[in-house]
Symmetry: D3
Subunit: 158 residues, 6 copies
């Protein structure tokens, strides 16, 4: 069985993430969405909330699991016996950071491969940080995230 792990902070999950997950679900038998508990930053949502929002956004896709993880991604992937990490690429700045991350992960775990997918172009400009910024200013984010995330952002930013 071919599995892939898709890690991220998902603070919150966007339609761009969901698009990538559904693409991965067609390519692999099993997609594990791995929500980082400890992102090294203050998050808008707790890891439990972030997991719950990803789950609500992908519940229509059969072969997807959503779990929280802590510690190093490559060790988590090994524990799951998954040899493939998936990352999304939207833009050049994504690419550079991802290249560094993939390079260091490859050195720590040469048996694990990182592959990249691009979202549909209609999602190419969506980022979690801009979604949070718009929600903080009480803008309408319903074109960028699922209804559950809209509700959660409204509750958070009043």
């Amino acid at each position: 069985m071919r599995s892939v792990v898709y890690p991220g902070s998902f603070d919150p999950v966007t339609n761009g993430h969901t698009d990538l997950i559904s693409r991965a679900a067609r390519l692999f038998d099993r997609v594990v969405v791995a929500v980082a508990q400890d992102t090294g930053k203050v998050t808008t949502f707790s890891s439990e909330e972030r997991v719950a929002l990803v789950r609500a956004s992908v519940e229509h896709i059969d072969n997807v699991e959503v779990v929280a993880f802590s510690g190093l991604l490559v060790e988590f992937a090994r524990m799951l016996q998954v040899r493939v990490i998936m990352r999304g690429l939207r833009a050049v700045s994504d690419f550079e950071y991802e290249f560094q991350l993939a390079g260091m992960n490859r050195r720590m775990a040469p048996d694990i491969e990182t592959l990249f997918l691009t979202p549909a172009e209609t999602y190419s400009y969506i980022s979690s940080s801009l979604v949070r910024e718009i929600a903080r200013l009480h803008g309408d984010v319903s074109a960028f995230v699922s209804p559950q995330v809209v509700a959660a952002l409204k509750e958070r930013f009043g």
Copy 2:
């Protein structure tokens, strides 16, 4: 009457910003410089100070107004009945962030267009954050900002 809004945090306004404003003032009947009150970050200058420093730097240009705004930019533009947002592009990293921002603004307000100008190449390397950093270390920033901003930075960083 053709109007344009030029938003930013202007913390502080630089000669690069002023160059862009004077270019816009030749292309449009009215330029509204919109200073974000709430930038989501700790700023070196208060929004009142930032507005005052922009005003001092552009007082020689007739068709420019400087105002503070809060909330979403596209809603502020609509309130002003302005259909055009101007942003400066200096570098590739500018471009990527601006592309995301323009994409999300376009989705929220399809009637509002974002256009981009580049500063004179002699200003292409100036950024507010590097100006603050140099001033913090007591360097001479008089080649990068107006005399009023030089004075304000000196007072701030002692």
Copy 3:
């Protein structure tokens, strides 16, 4: 009356170009699409054909003129008494070339300003060269160009 000139080789015009032209037509009183007769390269269509195809693609927009030009763009703009050049930005590589071009044009004609627009994200990946390549291999390009251009490409590549 505010006018803008939008130069290019348009070999052939794509839906991305048409999107930019319609955006410009809302911002300016008059849009002059300037088709370069001499692009310095072998073109798939003659300049007459390229002009005709742009005209067919924008005939529904009132305030647009399509003309061929030869020689330097900034001199053509001056002859038209147009002070604004518009260029599209899709990607980082666009930006770099455009930055060079805008810089040299600004030095030759400081009175003429270059401004940039981005196409709708759904057109962000379309380029004339990829359209030609797909048509050369007898692929279906009807999602990327107007019906007239589809027909012209079919005739050209058999």
Copy 4:
């Protein structure tokens, strides 16, 4: 059975290509290396030679086939009943072109997905065009390509 097609001009195949093929061969049951017969450019090696050189470079990998193809890649992939295209990403300029190509392919064939892998960093600077350039100037390319390609380049450039 999971299959992937890896298209390119391979003029000639480099150690960077071979590295990507061996990575793909671990992720997929079957890797089809698709050598473009008609690249739209003058090539140094004929398509038969390019196929033969790829074959010689990957003969130690079991689940790899090397074939020539003409026409549109997405149609070739469909004929093979392969739903996944693999492309290598070394640098930002790669990314931009690949993003355009993937966007246009996705529009023409929404059922086919493009995924990206990065070569080991030790191959990140190798390109077929620089290899050809060095060989043309009689430099030693044995660190960049297989012994068979070294021999073929020597014969070609004397």
Copy 5:
């Protein structure tokens, strides 16, 4: 005697930094590694610790000195009577920030030149921030930093 100053925060020094220092030591008679005391951010290691770790990593190279500095780099370089600043370039995002920095330094000190070196490709993906992140999550960083830095990170992150 030709001297160069290599400034940075070195929080902590990586094998990529050490590679650049040893390259500089072959090009110049004297290399001054200048560790910024005040980086404007919270650092993982104090400036004394960062200086000590750089020293431990370069003790095998004769013509290298490691010193802490505060204030503006160009003034520090002048005080040392050094006219050349060296910076490393790994990636596009490095390049943009460095271009801004070099531009502003050149304006403040036209007599001082900034030159750039690239690390060996095997170090091109290493960054201090990713090293800190991996160490924080108790990953093995011994492939990226010297044994002394491994020990210091272990002590810091427990």
Copy 6:
């Protein structure tokens, strides 16, 4: 004696090249400008003309020599007993190509180092290819190249 070689096609030399040469001449005892005889492309000027135009542009700088070379740059550098190659960096696209080139040169000649300088920002947008393009269209290039090059371009393009 510290020497550096600055290679290029210089078709034709621009004020940006001359700026870099004069910067190098202050950092090194001897600067060898190496004009590639065989650039792999059709050039506007012969290698003799290109050498003569570079010489005319740098005759006011004492420690500069201008020579034509053929074959591999690293072998030419070794023959000159020069261990340092200098290249200019204006933009991101420069950087990527230069990174590839430096990587391959380093593999072929680990004893030779490549270093990079940036031109003054006022020259950052000038490229030989745009200069040729403007001259071909009979535009005024006197702000971008030396008087000798202006004359040579006029003669060439009539």
